[in-house]
């Protein structure tokens, strides 16, 4: 019974963390361009001595 006092808040906290992370990424526009994000890893940075 004592274990529950720790485990349940931890479980709920982790769940909330996930929910918070999802909301954050939604607001940041992380889901705006899903196909593009997959391709951007191939884009080389320009080495320009600006």
């Amino acid at each position: 019974m004592n274990g529950l006092a720790f485990l349940i808040p931890i479980a709920l906290g982790l769940g909330l963390l996930g929910l918070g992370a999802f909301f954050w990424s939604l607001r940041q526009g992380q889901f705006e361009d899903l196909d593009g994000a997959a391709l951007r890893i191939f884009v080389e940075d320009e080495e320009e001595p600006s």
């Binding site: 019974m1 529950l4 349940i8 479980a11 709920l12 769940g15 909330l16 996930g18 929910l19 999802f22 909301f23 939604l26 705006e32 361009d33 899903l34 196909d35 593009g36 391709l39 951007r40 890893i41 191939f42 884009v43 080389e44 320009e46």
Partner: protein
């Protein structure tokens, strides 16, 4: 760099295909000093630019052209799209919250089901309540709002029993928790919300995706024009800012942005989008010209007489508004089901309550059973039955190059039994194609290609397209020069070659071009609008699907007759937009469900009036906006494939309803007898939802 506010502009760039396109665009565009930042959205094939205020539209489009991309400005009227996207995001948030709550409550419930008693059970119930009540308040809003709207108008819809059920169950469960009861249905209430929200969200995502696809397709034809100022200088003016009295300079290959009178130059205009007529019309000084027509030959000066909402297009827009009213009367299958279902659910719950009260079970027990009946009878399966099937179908169709605007379009497409087809641009490709390229030898072909690919004239583009498909390599020519209205000229091994208007004039009104070496004509190529390659097969396939077809064309009878003969269809010709509208109304009055296929501005009202409508990707913006779905590419077969898919989707939807009803036949008596514990409700709900979604996924790997 000054701190002047940057202007944000969006461009549709259909040719973004790979990672190197992203790199090329983002890194190449910022080298233009007018552009401060560029960001590619690959999914929507868009580029967002931040540019300095003085940057003119043609310069920006030129920056894309320099990089080898075709860009179309996207107008600044997407407020409606923004609102729709916001609804989607709201729903997604609600789904996330409900999902989170459902998982946690379910975990707590599992321990209750596995035998927790006494203080532990109460603690778990209280925790569940703590999670469930805010969730119901937040995630339930879409249902409460819709239910309230319906009730206020004295109607009832599917959301009414859902809302009553969820609220009643929550309150009852809270009461149970406070009185140390054995059963709390928090998990059931939240699960119901979660599955129903999934259905709503799928529906909304589908509409968004199609809308995104359509916006990317809209060419925003003639979103502006080069206007000649009093001092002879020219500047770019947006179509919305054009005013009567301005003088526009319209280059060959451009579309007119406003109605006007020709004051300088002579050319031929392609009216096919406006009237459906396939032969170009000669215009010269003092002739009236209309917005949306394509300048074929030479630059033209036009004094604007009407712009914006006053153009001839506005008439068509008014007709469309009237025509679309009929379509808004269509009731979606889910709503039709709800009309029968909602009262039944209410009666059942009421009967259960009354029955147990009479049997002397006490108001508390009776109310609990009534709540169980409510929650078991508005199953998630019913909320998912339609959207799950429709989104799978829409995804499949999108892969085949068909964009469906919303779910109701699929339902209406499944019902059509008569297809009315426009000719120009729908049965035909709607652009000139070179007819007798095979008559040329390879040397001439490579010369023609070398000259044609230097020009943006529609005929040159047709030649380039045709010859590149035949794997011809261009001849080596130098000093290419284009004279608007006449043609292209170049040096080819000490000789002068030209490609342009035939010197002896044209025979009839067929378009033609001529290749000449040192001024002597050596070959002439004729052009005509060709039938789509599979038009014949499509009319046959429509017939096997039990759909009659007819041609409705704005073109002259002698231009339509060959097409009608070739396809074996009856045709009505010379029809105005009003005539087409009247023809559709006649057929609908005769009991037919009409599928309208068309592309032009003149088809707009007809597309809006048809029971369902489709337009090719090459259609006018008006056509694309009015149509229920859009197919890309030169083939016409997607029309038939879409109808088949719509019919299969409808069959799946009906199966899903049957499944949901079958489930009710088993579950409702149990709920009536008071045997539905939270565990039974959880299993029944998730089980039926999975079955319905699984059934919908069958659409994915179907033949066809």
């Amino acid at each position: 760099m000054t701190a002047a506010a940057l202007v944000e502009r969006d461009f549709a760039v259909p040719d973004i295909r790979c990672a190197s396109c992203i790199a090329k665009l983002e890194q190449g565009l910022v080298r233009d000093r007018r552009i401060a930042a560029a960001r590619v959205n690959f999914t929507e094939k868009r580029v967002h630019l931040s540019c300095i205020p003085g940057a003119e539209m043609p310069d920006l489009i030129g920056a894309f052209t320099n990089l080898g991309f075709e860009a179309h400005p996207i107008g600044t009227g997407p407020e409606e799209a923004d609102r729709a996207a916001e609804t989607s995001r709201d729903l997604l948030r609600a789904v996330a919250v409900a999902g989170f709550a459902m998982m946690n409550i379910m975990l707590l419930s599992v321990s209750v089901w596995s035998g927790a008693t006494g203080a532990t059970r109460d603690l778990f119930h209280w925790l569940s309540a703590l999670i469930a009540l805010p969730t119901v308040a937040y995630a339930g809003r879409p249902f409460f709002r819709s239910a309230w709207r319906a009730l206020r108008h004295g109607r009832t819809n599917m959301d009414v029993p859902i809302s009553i059920g969820v609220l009643l169950v929550s309150v009852m469960s809270l009461y149970e928790t406070m009185t140390h009861g054995a059963h709390a249905y928090f998990d059931g209430a939240v699960m119901l919300l979660f599955f129903l929200l999934c259905g709503r969200w799928l529906d909304s995502v589908m509409r968004d995706r199609a809308r995104g696809g359509v916006t990317a397709l809209l060419r925003n034809m003639g979103t502006g024009a080069m206007v000649v100022e009093g001092d002879g200088r020219t500047r770019w003016v947006d179509a919305t800012a054009l005013e009567p009295g301005m003088v526009m300079l319209v280059a060959a290959g451009e579309r007119l942005a406003a109605d006007g009178l020709v004051i300088g130059g002579a050319t031929r205009l392609d009216l096919s989008l406006l009237t459906g007529e396939s032969a170009p019309r000669d215009v010269q000084a003092d002739d009236p010209v209309h917005a949306g027509t394509l300048n074929l030959d030479a630059p033209l000066r036009v004094r604007v007489t009407a712009a914006g909402a006053d153009t001839a297009i506005a008439d068509i827009a008014r007709l469309m508004g009237e025509a679309a009213q009929g379509k808004s009367r269509y009731v979606r299958i889910a709503d039709r089901a709800a009309r029968l279902y909602a009262p039944a659910v209410h009666c059942l719950a009421l009967a259960a309550f009354a029955g147990w009260m009479i049997a002397g079970a006490g108001w508390h027990h009776s109310l609990l059973i009534a709540a169980a009946v409510l929650i078991i009878t508005c199953p998630c399966a019913l909320g998912l039955a339609v959207p799950a099937a429709q989104i799978v179908a829409a995804g499949e169709l999108m892969r085949k190059g068909v964009l469906i605007k919303d779910g109701s379009a699929l339902e209406r497409l499944a019902e059509v039994d008569l297809a009315l087809l426009d000719k120009t641009g729908t049965l035909t490709l709607g652009r000139p194609e070179a007819l007798d390229l095979d008559g040329l030898d390879d040397g001439k072909k490579s010369l023609v290609l070398a000259l044609a690919q230097a020009s943006r004239h529609p005929l040159s583009e047709a030649l380039t397209r045709g010859l590149q498909c035949a794997n011809i390599l261009p001849a080596a020519v130098t000093g290419i020069r284009e004279t608007p209205g006449f043609g292209v000229e170049a040096q080819w091994a000490d000789r002068v070659v030209t490609l342009g208007r035939p010197q002896g004039g044209e025979k009839g009104d067929a378009l033609a071009t001529e290749l000449a070496v040192d001024g002597k004509p050596v070959a002439s190529i004729r052009f005509a609008d060709q039938l789509r390659p599979d038009a014949r097969a499509v009319t046959a396939a429509l017939r096997t699907e039990g759909i009659d077809a007819m041609i409705l064309s704005g073109d002259r009878a002698d231009a339509v007759a060959p097409v009608a003969r070739e396809l074996g269809l009856t045709a009505q010709t010379g029809m105005s937009p009003q005539d087409k509208l009247a023809a559709i109304e006649r057929q609908e009055a005769a009991g037919h469900k009409v599928l309208m296929l068309g592309d032009g501005l003149n088809d707009g009202p007809a597309l809006a009036a048809g029971h369902a409508s489709m337009a090719p990707g090459s259609a006018s913006d008006v056509g694309k906006n009015a149509a229920d779905c859009i197919f890309l590419g030169d083939r016409l077969m997607p029309v038939v494939e879409t109808i088949r898919m719509a019919r299969r989707t409808q069959a799946i939807v009906k199966q899903n309803f049957l499944l949901a009803i079958g489930y009710n036949v088993i579950a409702v008596p149990l709920a009536f007898l008071g045997l539905v514990t939270p565990l039974v409700a959880a299993i029944a709900m998730s089980g039926s939802s999975l079955i319905v979604v699984g059934n919908a996924l069958r659409l994915k790997r179907a033949p066809g």
